[in-house]
């Protein structure tokens, strides 16, 4: 797999009077982690669906590697081999009785022969740490397991870009870490990952690029900057990540020589450095 870029240009999507997207632009450069942020109902999911080709915008274009997506059968087929969308609710995507069968659906549709399909299923399950569940019935899996199986189903298509809608929603803390580990392994296999989330802390810690969906448009930039923009955050019904909030309260200056503050390790490091001059405490 190689890195491809994915772009949205001036997307308009409207249901009736209230357009969900009104001129949304997004640039996903190959190999860069993109977090799509926004409130419930802001249009994150709609944007992901448009990017995946499953929703056709009223106006605007989706470009894969600078070539506009065409909505005929052939164009969609090619697009879906490169871009796969994983929905928030795994039950919207899992239709087969057991894990291995479900994951085999995509490769079978690609017209691969049985041996190749079996090989891809096996590899995908290994990559996501699901091998032990291969023969388990889907209806007896936990929510977190079903989420990973849904990702496996998309991944078995060997997409260059994987779009994930709220991959960590509903997972417990260890489940979130397992999910992030799985995403990390995908990146090692050159898959570009885009996630939609309203977890600002996760976005700051994980993403290379934050894109906030608000009023039908997208504001994209460096996570630390985008997520410090108080005005934008209010309009988007989001909060400043706690790391940035704490840094501001403590008056930690932005220091271009230091790596940007992203997570607990970062802020702990900065604060320890800062208090080095203090008298020792018991």
């Amino acid at each position: 797999m190689s890195h491809l870029s994915l772009r949205a240009r001036g997307l308009h999507v409207g249901y009736g009077d209230h357009p969900v997207l009104a001129g949304a632009d997004l640039d996903v450069a190959g190999g860069r982690r993109v977090a799509l942020l926004g409130a419930n109902g802001s249009g994150k999911t709609t944007l992901l669906r448009a990017l995946s080709g499953s929703l056709r915008p009223t106006t605007g274009q989706v470009l894969l590697d600078e070539k506009p997506l065409t909505y005929d059968r052939k164009g969609l087929r090619a697009h879906r081999q490169a871009v796969q969308l994983v929905l928030q609710d795994p039950d919207d995507q899992l239709f087969s009785a057991d894990v291995a069968r479900d994951v085999s659906f995509g490769p079978t549709n690609l017209g691969l022969d049985a041996q190749e399909v079996a090989a891809r299923v096996a590899q995908t399950l290994v990559l996501l740490g699901l091998t032990d569940l291969a023969n388990r019935p889907v209806h007896r899996l936990s929510f977190g397991q079903r989420k990973r199986v849904a990702i496996a189903g998309a991944l078995a298509m060997r997409p260059c870009l994987l779009l994930l809608d709220e991959p960590t929603a509903g997972l417990d803390p260890v489940g979130v870490d397992d999910m992030l580990d799985a995403l990390r392994r995908l990146e090692e296999h050159d898959t570009t990952v885009v996630i939609a989330t309203h977890d600002v802390d996760l976005a700051l810690a994980w993403a290379d690029v934050a894109a906030v969906v608000v009023d039908g448009a997208v504001h994209q930039g460096e996570p630390g900057e985008v997520l410090s923009d108080a005005d934008l955050l209010v309009r988007a019904r989001l909060r400043r990540p706690w790391v940035l909030e704490l840094a501001q309260r403590l008056g930690l200056p932005a220091d271009p020589d230091l790596p940007p503050l992203r997570d607990l390790d970062g802020i702990a490091h900065r604060l320890q450095g800062r208090s080095a001059g203090e008298p020792a405490r018991p």
Binding site: S52, S54, R77, R80, Q84, L85, L87, D89, D91, D92, Q93, L94, F95, S96, A97, D98, A100, R101, D102, S104, F105, G106, P107, T108, N109, L110, A114, V117, A118, V121, N135, R136, P137, V138, H139, R140, G153, A154, M157
Partner: protein, 262 residues
């Protein structure tokens, strides 16, 4: 879904015989079903029932409690049906109920056929997940569309069952079944909610699958299953033994109970 849901389905997925070819298991189970039906009730159905129970509790490792639980539902029907046959009805000057030796014998044999047959079906049901049976039907040239609809039904019934349970619990919380009137209202709203939800599910699953390359078939790769000539041979041997033993015992005791459908 928890084990309190479809216990038999769980047993099938966890069965040590799950990897066996469906055809092998079908030979054994359907053979027992036929034997339960055609062999004389005494002692044939007893042997069939014993053989099926031994297979289930032995090599198929079905928990005894589960077996009893699975027998509970048909047992009610078998008991009521058996009783209805045992009782005779005469018309002399108004309906009159009674018993006759012949009717008792018929009821006894009916109960025997019912229990043995049910146990024989369980040999298949408790060892073979539904999806394997459906795959076998596809291989047997049942049209794809029919098999796929059935497979979707199987997947979706669990999500819907979960919804039914959750809705029911929520309604009970708010005393939705406190009176019969409230109960009717609750049942109708539950049913409507589930119907609408089934529709939404279908629409959303459609979209989800289109994204995965669904065009006009829901084909997946069937996992390999292990066919065993020895298993089939042993099954046939067991069936032959049950039949031979039945005829032998029936012959030596000279017991002749009325046959079927007389």
């Amino acid at each position: 879904m928890t084990a309190s849901g479809l216990a038999l389905d769980n047993a099938a997925w966890d069965s040590p015989w799950r990897e066996r070819a469906v055809r092998d298991k079908a030979v054994l189970a359907l053979g027992l079903v036929v034997a339960a039906l055609v062999l004389p009730a005494w002692p044939g159905t007893v042997f069939v029932a014993l053989a099926a129970a031994a297979l289930l509790l032995g090599p198929a490792r079905v928990a005894p409690q589960l077996l009893l639980r699975c027998l509970a539902a048909p047992a009610v029907f078998i008991a009521i049906g058996g009783l209805s046959v045992a009782v005779t009805l005469a018309w002399d000057g108004g309906p009159r109920l009674g018993f006759a030796p012949d009717s008792l014998a018929r009821a006894g044999s009916l109960v025997g056929h019912g229990l043995a047959g049910t146990l024989a079906v369980l040999v298949l049901a408790a060892t073979t997940p539904m999806i394997d049976l459906l795959s076998a039907l596809r291989r047997a040239r049942v049209p794809d569309a029919c098999v796929e609809v059935a497979a979707l039904m199987y997947r979706m019934l669990f999500t819907l069952l979960e919804s039914v349970r959750a809705i029911r619990m929520a309604q009970e919380q708010r005393l939705g079944y406190a009176t019969r009137r409230a109960g009717m209202r609750s049942a109708s709203t539950a049913l409507t909610s589930v119907l609408l939800r089934a529709w939404q599910r279908a629409a959303r699953l459609e979209e989800g699958l289109v994204g995965r390359g669904y065009v006009d078939a829901l084909r997946t790769l069937d996992p390999p299953r292990h066919a065993s000539a020895r298993f089939v041979a042993a099954s046939l041997l067991l069936l032959a033994a049950v039949a031979a033993l039945t005829l032998l015992v029936a012959g030596t005791t000279g017991l002749r109970l009325p046959g079927w459908g007389a």
